[in-house]
């Protein structure tokens, strides 16, 4: 049984300039203890999809238009979009059973509280521990994420930690209540490669120890290859391809995914090859193409692509793609 099932999720934003369909009919499932990678360029809706699951969409201007987010726990099913995002039930889930870490650890930690205080807040709130026990637990968590001398670090402020340390503190905070799902939104994008390697290694280790499922959002295909079991590729608010990681990399179907793979320079090739970029730019969110969203940039576009939106359907076993090429 899956942990999270998202069905036909549509999250729109009503702005003065028009409606932005940030997430426009998205289906995906997250299996327990597995990592789902969500890949896409900026503005493709990957973060909004995650915030919708967290119940953190600001209403207004945002609105979850339609769709279901089914959360399975202890044989019960909770439909998250039906809950009041500020209500008691959602609050008992958010940060407790579903936790999130953000891209920029400096802006998402509160600069006027010690990191210990910030970790303890979640523990006291959700696990009803006494302050002293919560502090012990916070130190334990900092130790688990590999922060040296946690007894001392627990009383330090975010600005006293380096970028990698802050991201570790964020992870410690997110995992402190032993969540069943951890949503990681570009957790290593702001970090240097050597620190990124440390954090990714840590997350893989923690996943095994804490039995946590991870929804890993990134634009970096290299990171996805290292982290994810299953991958969904998003473009303009829609999922264009979805399969296991090895299928995505070895049996790429959608022209957008192929384009992404061709545009990254490879460390492995010895000779100098010219990159094959995707032509053009991501369309303006107010002027989304009528047919397939990728049609104006697609090297294999056909007549039908201009007018009809391709459905996401099975093109190989356990491999979905939304493209008329596979009709």
């Amino acid at each position: 049984m899956p942990l999270i099932e998202v069905r036909d999720l549509k999250t729109y934003f009503y702005t003065e300039d028009g409606v932005v369909r940030a997430v426009d009919g998205v289906d995906f499932t997250i299996e327990p203890e597995k990592t789902l990678g969500v890949v896409g360029e900026s503005g493709c809706g990957k973060t909004v999809a995650a915030l919708s699951v967290m119940g953190l969409i600001q209403i207004p201007p945002g609105k979850i238009e339609t769709g279901e987010i089914l959360y399975h726990r202890d044989g019960k099913v909770t439909e998250l979009t039906g809950l009041n995002p500020k209500g008691r039930e959602y609050r008992s889930i958010r940060g407790n059973e579903i936790a999130m870490i953000f891209q920029e650890p400096m802006t998402s930690l509160n600069p006027v509280y010690t990191i210990g205080n910030q970790i303890m807040e979640a523990i006291i709130l959700h696990q009803h521990l006494k302050k002293k026990e919560a502090r012990k637990k916070a130190i334990e968590m900092l130790h688990a994420v590999g922060i040296p001398v946690p007894e001392q670090r627990v009383d330090e402020y975010p600005h006293q930690l380096s970028g990698g340390m802050r991201q570790r503190a964020m992870i410690a905070m997110a995992l402190s209540c032993n969540p069943s799902l951890l949503i990681a939104d570009e957790p290593t994008t702001a970090l240097d490669v050597t620190i990124e390697a440390q954090v990714l290694d840590l997350m893989n280790g923690l996943r095994e120890n804490f039995n946590t499922a991870i929804q890993f959002i990134t634009h970096d295909l290299g990171v996805i290859a290292q982290m994810a079991d299953d991958v969904v590729i998003m473009y303009l608010g829609k999922i264009v391809e979805s399969a296991t990681a090895s299928e995505i990399f070895h049996n790429t179907k959608h022209p957008y995914t192929q384009g992404l793979m061709n545009s990254i320079p490879s460390l492995a090739t010895t000779k100098k090859e010219r990159l094959i970029p995707i032509k053009g730019v991501v369309p303006d969110p107010f002027e989304v193409p009528e047919g397939c969203g990728f049609e104006p940039r697609c090297p294999q576009a056909m007549e039908i692509c201009k007018t009809k939106i391709p459905p996401l359907k099975e093109v190989a076993s356990c491999h979905l793609a939304a493209c008329w090429l596979y009709e």
Binding site: H219, L221, N262
Partner: protein, 346 residues
């Protein structure tokens, strides 16, 4: 090393920033942002400069341009525009050049900045931005200037009617093109590109990289390409310099660096880059800890606290930056004896 086609020769370049404390603002320490580096760039080549944040790559670029005053060292540049009659070039030391010479030198050395959002004045039209260097250096004005701007925009893949628009009307990739057009305006010999693609999405990044390569061929440009992304640097550079804590630890031909690294830091850096292949299962070399503070660098070799091959010598003696032959420079005591892991090929 043949010295006849060296465009830029940097020798013992240092930039120390003072750290001031107390009421009297006394200098208590120095941040050694650039700590005695040597390198040269040959005409028409691309030298990549990689390293983690805070290692001094940007300061190096800016000190070479003398946007920041160097503390010590030489930056010898062969300027074509300053050459007298009958001379092919004139060699100038940028680090000590007078204001007047420096202004003339700016026509030969240009820069592209990382952030395409903050490096363009939002109140100026694209035409005014790209044409400004022409005015400042009195190269062209009026109709002539306008035509030149049109040419430049065409060269970077923008349309002439984009001249009348403002930067906010453009996407990140297009803005970076505007920055490149501005850098090209004075027909420079050297362009220092400081992380020109790191703020862009991958599909756009590839477009800009291809454009930079095309322009290099068309205008015979020389690049100093500063970036933190090893795969980008590998793609675009002829030679690569790896920086750590204000020093160059290794510098050699790109292929040599990736197939035959000689410095343990290079090895670790290459191993840390995520490979886009889920079946790639080689164990990564994880460096422990963070980059030390450049105010108070470790004794001996700066890299020794994180180095897995460190021996006692490394703690006390600083290694010398030396040529192993075939233009392979390295700064490690044991460069000859270590056998390091190259990047996976194939």
């Amino acid at each position: 090393m043949s010295s006849d086609n060296i465009l830029l020769d940097v020798k013992n370049l240092k930039k120390y920033f003072p750290v001031r404390k107390g009421v009297l603002r006394r200098v208590v320490a120095h941040v050694k942002a650039v700590d005695d580096i040597d390198m040269y760039i040959k005409e028409g080549e691309t030298l990549g400069l990689v390293g983690e944040s805070g290692c001094g790559k940007t300061t190096t670029g800016r000190t070479i341009l003398r946007l920041i005053e160097p503390t010590a060292g030489e930056v010898r540049f062969r300027s074509k525009k300053l050459a007298g009659q009958g001379e092919e070039y004139k060699e100038v030391d940028v680090a000590t050049a007078s204001r007047k010479t420096l202004k003339a030198l700016r026509r030969d050395m240009q820069v592209i900045f990382q952030d395409p959002y903050s490096s363009l004045n939002p109140r100026m039209t694209v035409g005014a931005i790209v044409g400004e260097p022409l005015l400042v250096h009195r190269v062209a004005k009026g109709r002539e200037r306008e035509n030149r701007v049109r040419e430049l925009l065409a060269a970077v893949g923008l349309k002439p009617d984009h001249m009348k628009r403002y930067p906010h009307e453009f996407s990140g990739g297009q803005r970076q093109r505007i920055g490149v057009a501005r850098a090209l305006a004075l027909d420079p010999q050297l362009i220092i590109a400081d992380e020109p693609v790191s703020a862009l999405d991958v599909s756009i990044q590839a477009q800009v990289l291809n454009m930079l390569e095309d322009l290099q061929e068309e205008f015979g440009l020389t690049y100093l390409f500063i970036a933190h992304d090893l795969s980008v640097v590998k793609h675009i550079s002829d030679r690569v310099a790896v920086m750590y804590l204000g020093k160059i630890v290794e510098l050699c031909k790109t292929e040599e660096l990736f197939t035959n690294p000689k410095h343990p830091y290079t090895e670790a850096l290459m191993s840390a880059v995520p490979v886009p292949d889920p079946d790639y299962n080689v164990e990564r070399i994880l460096l422990e800890g963070d980059v030390p503070s450049p105010v108070n660098p470790p004794s001996g070799c700066y890299f020794h606290p994180r180095c897995r091959y460190a021996k006692d010598t490394c703690k006390t003696e600083a290694p010398v930056y030396r040529d192993l032959g075939n233009e392979h420079f390295v700064c490690c005591h044991f460069a000859d004896s270590l056998s390091l892991r190259p990047v996976r090929t194939g």
